[in-house]
Amino acid sequence: MRLARKLILSMVIGLTVVLAANSFYRVRRELAAFDEDMKQDHDVMAQVLESAVTSVWATQGRDAALRLIANTKSPSKMLHVRWVDGQGAHGESSSSGVLVTRVAIVVGGSPMGFVEISESRDFARAYVRHTVIRSFALTLIVVLCVGALSTVLGIWFVGKPIEKLVERAARIGAGDVEGQLVIRQRDEIGELAAEMNTMCLRLVETRQALTAETEERLRAQEQVRHADRLATVGKLASGIAHELGTPLGVALMRANMIASNPTLGRDTRDAARIIGEQIDRITHIVRQLLDFARGRATSPPGPLARRNPADLLAIAETAVAMLQPLAVKRHLVIDIVADPVLPKPPANPEQIEQVLVNLLVNALHASERPGKVTITLGSAEAKAPADLTPPVWSEGSEPKYAVISVTDEGVGISPEVLPRIFEPFFTTKHVGEGTGLGLSVAYGIVREHSGWIEVTSERNRGSCFSVYLPLDSVEIEWGTR
């Protein structure tokens, strides 16, 4: 707005100066022309009078000549003719308001006096005044019209777009780079707006790339932190489990020896049997801890080729058969949905079965109402989490994975709990229902196979655990089912 005002103001001043100068010079020129006209009139009149007066003076005498002069009618009120005695210069003299022309009358070689023609310039003055006023009025009208027009056009073509640009620049400065600036002008302002839009697009792209990168990095950090935490817990667990191995073994064997000694009383043997059973439970837990800790070993797992291709469908069927009674008890159906062409990942079948059983037990426990649990078997291309050393793929093969998913329609896992579910002894089940080791063990085994487990869960809608096991294309034997 201010820029437009400046432009308009300078234009108006320029215009005024030009118009004023034009009027000034025109008036001056016209005045000069007017003066010239008057002088010529005077000259003509002076010559006529000179010859007439001289001739009358010579033939009829002085009085007749003076009467002639006195009777000379002036063509206008402004013009006066009179007789002046004495000698003086023949010619014109001009004061500011009056043009005076004198002509000497010479009779018989001797000068008699002058005939003086004087004419007022008042008419010229009035003309000048009139012209000045008219010019002024014209200038005013022109200036007003031009001013108004240029104000409208200035606001339209300069003020508004500049205002938009300034406002846009301020928003960009404040960090808002979304949206497009619409200025349909084929001039520098339009180009500036287009450049500004391009710049904003670039900024948005850069910002998106940056955000994606940051998120990726945060996710990777979180994965590494998670794996680190599990590694620490795993180390602790395996340390404890190792130290417990010998004393538990001794206690278990002693209890069994007492229980199977026929010379002892029945009560004693029963008590020893109970001690043995309890130690058995502890032993089971310790073994699971060791299974988990083994998957956390820092040494890289052995080459996949050393393991045989595992028949995932057979494994799934065995696991389902094992858990059928529990499913029936809870009014649940376990479905197996397998891809027609099922890859066989190199894996230890018993361990994979253990993983599947653990996941299924959790799925069954999570299902509080009758429904179904689905095991999906297939393959996918995937990106390994940041903390996992990916397996060495055979030359030319894609990083493909066998995917075993267990989906339930159960209570789901709350987002607060989700990051902790693989920690040993972490459980949301009631005391006595689970040790909190099932997922830890599954995690350990899957990691040992250079794979990982992905979890998605929605509160009261269910959870999906997906086990990714690397496939080595050289090793795959394609099934027919």
Partner: protein
């Protein structure tokens, strides 16, 4: 290597005294002769004396020399007896080494008495008298 009338002889190496005692008692219950060692050094002495050995049960972590090192030395010097290696650290590396040893099996601690006994029974000479 042994006469028909003698009892099979099992050597047990374990540094933990309570564990060693219970292992000896348990294996003795099978009606075999049991000799025990509490370190790698003792074990070597037992293996190199003149008495025959039919089965070796050894812990891995022991003072002076690990049970695995002793077992490896025994193999290298031509002793082909079956070996049960007991460990609280059953990692992949050890499993591979035990596989490589030949006629050796790894038993992870803690284990149930029956697990050990069935392994022992399967590795004793078929014609020996077992109670």
């Amino acid at each position: 290597m042994h006469k028909e009338d003698r009892l099979p002889r099992v050597v047990i190496a374990e540094d933990d005294e309570d564990m060693r005692d219970v292992l000896c008692e348990l294996v003795s219950g099978l009606g075999v002769e049991v000799a025990s060692a509490s370190s790698g050094g003792d074990l070597i002495l037992l293996l190199t004396d003149d008495s025959p050995v039919d089965l070796l049960i050894t812990d891995v972590r022991m003072p002076w020399m690990t049970g695995f090192q002793v077992a490896l030395s025994a193999r290298n010097s031509g002793l082909g007896i079956p070996i049960i290696i007991v460990t609280a650290f059953p990692d992949d590396a050890l499993r591979a080494q035990v596989d490589h040893l030949g006629s050796a099996v790894l038993l992870a601690k803690p284990f149930r008495p029956e697990e050990l006994l069935s392994l022992v029974r399967a590795r004793l000479p078929a014609n020996s008298a077992i109670a």
